[in-house]
Amino acid sequence: MYRFKNLLVFLLLSSLFLTQGCWSSKEIEDLSVYAGLALDVGERPDIERDLEGQGANYFKRDLITATIQIIPIKSFERQEKSKAKQVVKYSNLRLTGDSVFEIMRQYSTRRERPVIGHHLKVIVVSTKLAKQHQMDQLMDFALRDNDIRPSCRVFFSEGRAFDTFLSDQPEEVPAFRLNAMLNNSFRSNKIMKEVNLTRIDGLLRSKQSFLLQNIVSSKGEIQFSGAGIIKGATSKWIGNLNQENVESLSWIQGTGQGGLIKSYDWRNKIITYEIKSMHSKTTAKLQGDAISFHVAIESTGRLIENWDTKENPSKLEYLEGAEKVFEKRLTTMINHVMQKTQSKYKVDVAGFGKVLAIKYPKKWKEIKDNWDEVFSRVPVTFEIKLKITDFGSSTE
């Protein structure tokens, strides 16, 4: 054996080259990178209607219209830059069908270059579609596909999801804009923490209710506005929370990184509180069979805006008064969202279940199958402490 040691080495080495399977290269410019995927209720655009009229049809039901945003579209006119014509950096391609995967493959019959999903950043689902179909069915392809990264973020769209992929700025790729807008969460707690495919996967498998950031759009402008609720039991969209509700939820969970509380003081003048820090601690209590939660919220911040010219913000009494106003305002906000989630939609989207599961795993096992139902009857108490530590640089 030792005599043939070299032969053995070479045999193993050559098998390395022959038994693995990525001989075939694909140059990057021969591929279409898609950065966004929008899922809408099946509605064939005119062009598709026309094409199908001429026989470009296959066996399908028109359930979904999927839009992919391909970047960059041709820019071969590099040489003739002088034309100063604004080149659109992306192209949206829409197709209708039922299987998302079949639609993805169907793109190959429309464009010369195969699409690859490595760089898929955002998936936008229209609430209308999420109401009709289960979320886990819609997401199944994205979760299974090897190309698509699990870091891809998922959003809801109030109107057509396709509209969020339009931009009035031709130089800008809307999918990138959407993706980057999440980074502003340190400025406003109306922007939720990102929900990516990994989290969606976990949430869908464990049949929990959850929220997805909602986008509204108009003529190429978009805005984050509240969140859509997916009910765990049905995996369907059941309703929306507004911007204030999203804000309140971030207070309950203590996840906000920034933002503000605006209120009106005793003279009905505007005062605003800027959050510097935010902490919350949720504790679960079990007395007999009765579950209850207590949430302690603490925050420090500064008085950032004050329209009340008659008051002197550098006075301690005034600040204490203002603290009370803000606390009251926050309590109302939180009550709104608790009322909405517990009574109206009967879903736990603030993660109370998790707290219970950690502290009382036995109890949790008993009730986890209809936790949303149980949650709607559980009393939750709040204890809110806001502290104004600073009134800004302006004083009398």
């Binding site: 070299n6 070479f10 045999l11 098998s15 390395l16 038994t19 001989w23 960059p72 820019s75």
Partner: protein
């Protein structure tokens, strides 16, 4: 692999793959075997026979002046540059003959100290008043009391005499004297000592070796005074002989290593050893390896610091390049400047060089594998830019990279050959123009120009020029691997290199020594250059007699 074959036996593709891999392996095996056998054949002791076949006519000079002259003339007078100058020795009234090679003598010295004395002054110099008529006695008297020249020998044997004349001695034959006097009057024109052009430093001595061996050894001596520094002379070359010197520190060097170097140098067998590159190729361990196993340098300071680490220097007459053996991989990326600067800049620059070496080796390969196999691994924004810039490039990435890499290599080669004043300018301008124009013409993408430029600049930053060449060769191999198998191939390629250099040895010292075999003490001088007070020990890997630096 076997399990795959067995389970997929009906699948003809797998069978073909298996057979192919067997064929490839066999071919590689036999090619390898063939090459190894070549090495063995080369090392066979064939030189012994040849050395023995020259018993040299041990012809001695006779008493007869005419006879001797005739014999010498017959042997070497067909050379037009051998001059015979006959004159009369005033005192003896005897004929004398000076024989020397033109151009190798200091003629002023000959006429002033040899001819003038013999023709006029000897009589006056005989201070004791005795008169000598015996030519033999006169010769001894002349050599010992009159002739003010350092090097004089008596030559009795004809063959040796002829050789000495051709090497540059002046022979003096006197009528009645049965031997010739060899006088060292060599005064060859030599080049002035200048800064080594292949290893420029910002800080450090501006002194480099020249083509004259004695000057080079004197430069080593001049570094400082030490009884430790030993310089042993050898002769190499079967037909044209040349002086070769082995220098080492007597109390530091590992005696086994010294013996090994002596043996290997002794085995060198060739007509003519033209440059130290010949020596390097004769004494290296593995001639199939792209990595050099002896470091060449023009700098005496580098040689001395090598000697102090327990290494051995080999100097050859006629070349300013000295060899330092054994060589380890880290030496190729070290510059003397690391030690002359303070330790922080030294460390930073050294780490930078390691990074540059990686770039010089890998960046085109990585570019190819990213572009044509793994577009998902590029950050999105960058991917978009690359796609945009690569639109309309007609070639696959390998061809594209090859076009630019090869033209850069040609430019570099041309830059060396071009006359000095236009060389560098030509290189830069040519590079810029080719780069810019190729992009304009749409043959290559601008991104690639950046990659290739970074690669080229990185490979320039490697302090040892021949190490840069190694990386240049391997870069092309890496590119091919990447083009065939993508990232998988690139990693395979890196593993191949790692395997190869960890197996490679230079004079018994593993090539990547401080890393593997792991010697922590030597890591102080590997990636980092720790402050000098910390470097109290000589490298462990050299197994020196004296472990401590004092």
């Amino acid at each position: 692999m076997w399990s795959i074959i067995i389970t997929h036996l009906p699948n003809w593709k797998v069978c073909v793959q298996a057979v192919l891999s067997l064929v490839i392996a066999l071919v590689l095996y036999y090619v390898n075997k063939y090459f190894r056998s070549l090495v063995e054949k080369k090392n066979a002791p064939a030189q012994k026979a040849r050395r023995g076949e020259r018993p040299a006519e041990q012809a001695h000079l006779s008493d007869e002046y005419e006879e001797n002259l005739h014999a010498i003339k017959q042997a070497i007078s067909s050379n037009s540059d051998v001059h015979f100058r006959e004159f009369q020795v005033a005192e003896l009234q005897a004929r004398a003959m000076l024989i020397y090679v033109d151009g190798m003598q200091d003629e002023e010295m000959i006429s002033k100290y040899v001819m003038k004395i013999l023709m006029e002054d000897v009589k006056q110099d005989m201070t004791d008043g005795s008169v000598l008529f015996n030519p033999l006695e006169f010769s001894a008297y002349f050599q010992n009391k009159v002739l003010p020249v350092c090097e004089t020998y008596e030559a009795k044997e004809l063959h040796g005499l002829n050789q000495s004349i051709l090497i540059g001695f002046t022979a003096l034959l006197i009528e009645g004297v049965p031997h010739a006097l060899l006088i060292g009057t060599s005064g060859m024109k030599t080049r002035a000592i200048s800064e080594p052009s292949s290893e420029a430093l910002l800080r450090g001595p501006r002194i480099g070796f020249t083509e004259v061996l004695s000057e080079n050894t004197s430069m080593l001596r001049r570094q400082g005074y030490s009884e430790d520094l030993e310089i042993n002379m050898y002769e190499v070359g079967a037909r044209i002989k040349r002086k070769l010197v082995i220098a080492y520190m007597k109390e530091i060097v590992n005696p086994d290593l010294l013996q090994e170097v002596r043996d290997r140098v002794g085995k060198i067998n060739m007509d003519f050893i033209a440059e130290s590159g010949y020596v390097e190729q004769f004494i290296e361990d593995d001639y199939l390896s792209p990595f050099q196993q002896a470091q060449n340098t023009e700098r005496p300071d580098r040689v001395i610091s090598g000697l102090l680490e327990g290494r051995i220097a080999i100097l050859l007459d006629g070349t300013p390049f000295a060899l330092i053996v054994p060589t380890t991989f880290s030496m190729l990326l070290q510059s003397p400047e690391d030690y002359y600067d303070r330790w922080l800049p030294g460390t930073l620059l050294r780490m930078l060089r390691f990074f540059a070496a990686f770039l010089a080796l890998m960046s085109p390969a990585l570019y190819i594998s990213f572009i044509s196999f793994h577009p998902g691994l590029i950050p999105t924004e960058l991917a978009v830019t690359i796609i945009e810039t690569r639109q309309g490039v007609p070639f696959p990435s390998l061809i594209e990279v090859m076009i630019l890499e090869i033209s850069i290599e040609i430019l570099r080669e041309a830059g060396i050959r071009l006359p000095k004043p236009i060389g560098p300018a030509m290189g830069i301008v040519g590079g810029l123009i080719i780069g810019e124009a190729a992009v304009q013409a749409g043959i290559v993408s601008p991104f690639l120009v950046i990659v290739v430029a970074v690669t080229a600049i990185s490979s320039f930053s490697i302090p040892v020029y021949s190490a840069g060449i190694t990386l240049r060769i391997l870069r092309f191999v890496g590119m091919l691997c990447a083009a065939v198998l993508g990232m998988f191939g690139t990693i395979l390629f890196i593993l191949f290199i790692c395997g190869h250099i960890s197996k490679l040895k230079s004079f018994g010292v593993p090539y990547v020594t401080p890393i593997s075999p792991f010697r922590f003490n030597d890591w102080k001088d590997l990636f980092l250059r720790t402050p000098l007070p910390f470097m109290t020990k000589r490298p462990d890997m050299m197994k020196t007699q004296d472990k401590k630096r004092r």
